[in-house]
């Protein structure tokens, strides 16, 4: 099974893939409205605000955790050299 290169989510159903396209390597949550993959900064901010909204973390802690999570993912490896 494929996992999203930008957030690590397993993609099992067609609806998990960006634009319902199983050929894509990223998921529906990591796509922009136009279907392109979000940038590093967009993904970091989206992940951090998701963490703040759903888990109530402090904003700086949420941004740090978002970066730590992204560090392990293939889409962002060039940002952590």
């Amino acid at each position: 099974m494929k996992t999203c290169i930008a957030c690590g989510m397993p993609m099992e159903d067609i609806s998990d893939f960006a634009g319902n396209d199983p050929g894509k390597d990223y998921c529906v949550h990591c796509a922009r409205p136009d279907g392109e993959m979000q940038s590093f900064e967009e993904k970091r901010e989206n992940l951090a605000s998701f963490i703040v909204r759903t888990q109530g973390f402090n904003e700086n802690a949420a941004r740090k955790i978002a970066e730590d999570m992204m560090r392990k993912l293939p889409a962002w490896k060039d940002y952590f050299c």
């Binding site: 690590g8 397993p10 909204r53 759903t54 888990q55 109530g56 955790i65 730590d68 999570m69």
Partner: protein, 201 residues
């Protein structure tokens, strides 16, 4: 590409070290010396360091592997849940499956390498994704009280983690706390959050 017998042996030893470390840490905690892991695995102490140069390397690999496995399992079970009742039942199932190691992780997280925090955050964020989808749907239908998502989420985790972190008060020996108390925790939590009178607050 042909894999040599030596490479297979090397991979098997690495796997054995990881599996043994998981089970020893589940029983004795993260401060267990590497010599105990080597003894339990039936290998020489030096052999551990051939695979993992420091104890932190071993812990980081173990934690990352654990976070991926538990996160994937949660994702698979939670995805099919259409109500908060079912989602939390599935959460309890996953917790029971990984109870011993997970309890060590939440109890000792602050004394562990940074990877422990990331592992913890990966697991909780996977759950939070499904929890927020389900709970926000129920709030808009009026079946759950209109309270902030993060407080609903943290109250559930706070309750479950309290029982896991104080396992010695809530269970005898190796009994599962989740198995014994899970149904009571779930029913109490649902009573607190449900909008029983159908009043949209």
């Amino acid at each position: 590409m042909r894999v040599s017998t030596r490479q297979v042996q090397k991979q098997n030893t690495r796997k054995k070290i990881m599996e043994t470390a998981y089970s020893v840490i589940s029983n004795k905690g993260f401060s267990v010396p590497s010599s105990v892991i080597a003894e339990e695995a039936g290998i020489s102490h030096g052999s551990i360091f051939a695979h993992f140069p420091t104890m932190n390397d071993l812990l980081n690999n173990l934690l990352s592997d654990f976070g991926d496995k538990m996160g994937a399992r949660l994702h698979m079970l939670a995805k099919k849940s259409d109500s908060v009742d079912n989602l939390l039942k599935e959460h309890l199932k996953v917790l029971e499956e990984y109870e011993a190691f997970y309890s060590r992780l939440i109890s000792e997280k602050n004394r562990l390498p940074d990877e422990a925090k990331t592992t913890f955050a990966v697991i909780q964020s996977t759950l939070a994704l499904h929890f927020s989808n389900v709970i926000e749907r129920e709030i808009s239908k009026g079946t759950v009280r209109k309270l902030p998502t993060h407080m609903l989420f943290n109250t559930w985790l706070g309750l479950v983690h309290y029982y896991l972190m104080n396992k010695d008060f809530f269970s005898d020996g190796n009994e599962s706390v989740i198995k014994n108390y899970g149904p009571e925790l779930l029913s109490f939590y649902l009573k607190m959050i449900k909008n029983e009178r159908g009043v949209y607050e």
